[in-house]
Structure formats: C-alpha cells, structure tokens
Symmetry: C2
Subunit: 154 residues, 2 copies
C-alpha cells in the first residue's frame, strides 16, 4: 500500500487523528516520514501497529504495559513468559474490577428497589447514601468491598 496521511490512517483504524499524534508523542508510535510540507506519511504496517495498540488498550492494558508488549514484540519468542505475565496481571485486574462492579450493581439495585416501593417520606436512595446509623434495614456488605475500591481513595 502506498503511503497515507494521518487522516487515512485514522480512518483505517478508527483511531482519532489527535490520538494518533498523541501516541506518537508518548512514543507508542514511531515518528513517520514527512512530506515536503511536513505532513505525516504512514506506511501500511502502521495500521497493524496502531490496531495492536488500540486493541491492547481496549483490553485494559495501561499504556505502560502496551509499551512493554511492543518492546517484547520486537524481539519475540523467548519472552513469551513475560507477555503471559503481563496478560495475567491484566486478567487479575479485570477480575478485581468485576467483583467490585458486581457489588455496586447489587447495592444500586437494592437502593432502586427501595425507592420503587417508596411511600417513604424521604427517598430511600438518599437514605442509603447517607447510611451509617439510622438506616431502614441492617447494612449490606457492599461498603466493605468498596473500601478497597481503586477509585483513588485508600
């Protein structure tokens, strides 16, 4: 395939133009050739590279992990174990988040259910959020799971 501008690459990969430039700026993508007037010109393999990055990101790998994966990709074979480790780490992370979200789902459902039956003078959702002490019923286990939430608390 002939060289393409950043717009074409964007179209081919569904990655936004600005994001492509961003990836270049943080070193995920090599600097491409430039036209005489300074426009970026990409070869066909850029599409694969970019898809790789995008797919890894969609899988939840942080950029730092993507960087690792790329570097391992360059010298393949022997390092498969490392790649496996990175993937496993990511899987653990995904599972951790799954557990948290399931707890959140349960708590939200409970809140909403309470609100539905709400002849209660004050909304149960707000009550549940206020919680601590004088709540309608004994309190859930959700909060404990939430205690370890990654949302930058703790």
């Amino acid at each position: 395939m002939a060289l393409m501008t950043i717009g074409k690459l964007s179209g081919a990969t569904a990655v936004k133009v600005t994001t492509i430039r961003y990836y270049e700026s943080i070193g995920l993508l090599d600097e491409p050739q430039r036209s005489a007037s300074g426009q970026r010109l990409y070869a066909g393999d850029s599409v694969e590279r970019l898809r790789f990055i995008r797919h890894a990101r969609d899988l939840g790998f942080p950029v730092s992990a993507v960087r690792e994966l790329i570097s391992l990709q360059v010298e393949p074979g022997r390092e498969c174990v490392l790649v496996d480790q990175i993937a496993r780490r990511q899987l653990d992370e995904v599972r951790r988040r799954l557990t948290q979200l399931e707890a959140l789902e349960a708590e939200l459902k409970r809140m909403i259910r309470a609100c539905e039956g709400g002849k209660i003078g004050s909304c149960s959702v707000l009550a549940a959020l206020g919680q601590h002490e004088n709540c309608l019923h004994e309190q859930h286990d959700g909060a404990e799971v939430l205690a370890g939430l990654p949302s930058k608390g703790a």
Copy 2:
C-alpha cells in the same frame, strides 16, 4: 458537637484532607467557618455530608451526579423520582461496564490459555492482540472505564 479542624473531619470520614479541600473548591462542600488564624472549622453535620459524598462516589456516581443528589436532598420527598432516575442511570452504567469487563475477561483468558500451550516461535498473546475485527469496539468508553486504574497495585 464542637467544631473540628479539617484533620478531625478527615479522620472521622476517612476522606483525605486534600480531598476535602478539593470538594470545597468544586462546590460539593460548603465553605466552613474559619478560625481567627484562617483554619477551617467544621460542624458535626459536615461529617454526614462528607460521608454521603464519599459513599456516592464509591458507588461510582460522578461528581456531577453527586451534586444533583445533594441538591435534591435539600428539598426531599417529591423529587424521589429524579433520584431514582439518577440511580438507574448509574446502574445502567455499571451494567455496561460489567458486560464489557466480562468480555475482556474471556478474551484475556483465551489469550493466556493459548500462550500456555504456545510454542516459542509465536506468542499467541501478541498474535491475539494483533488481530482485530472480532472484539470490542467502542474505544472511548473502554478508555474511560480504564482510566483511573490503580497502577500502583500493579
């Protein structure tokens, strides 16, 4: 209850001092009284307010939603429907993320399984990342979910 400094409030709610000031700066918390020397002095109800905020945030409500909830809390009762809507929206969001994460989990498991049996020549994880097409799309939301990950635990 006597007035307390920001440190006490932080201790009582497990919300960091800097975060409390941050919440004040974005209008989630009212500006408290100040001592003669300029230190913030909080009344007892600040504890409840702050716990409410923190709990809502832990449940994944964005700050904008928390703001809404607070405003509804001020004039309670009649607005229960609105509160319910916000909670439902949040529940939908949580479910969406759950679905996405489940797909991620499946794909990661598949990748790792392939890698285990894998010969050295071609790591299947990298191969799996290279091929696109069959998987998740919706890149923006993916990134959103992933943003705010611990990255310390890893």
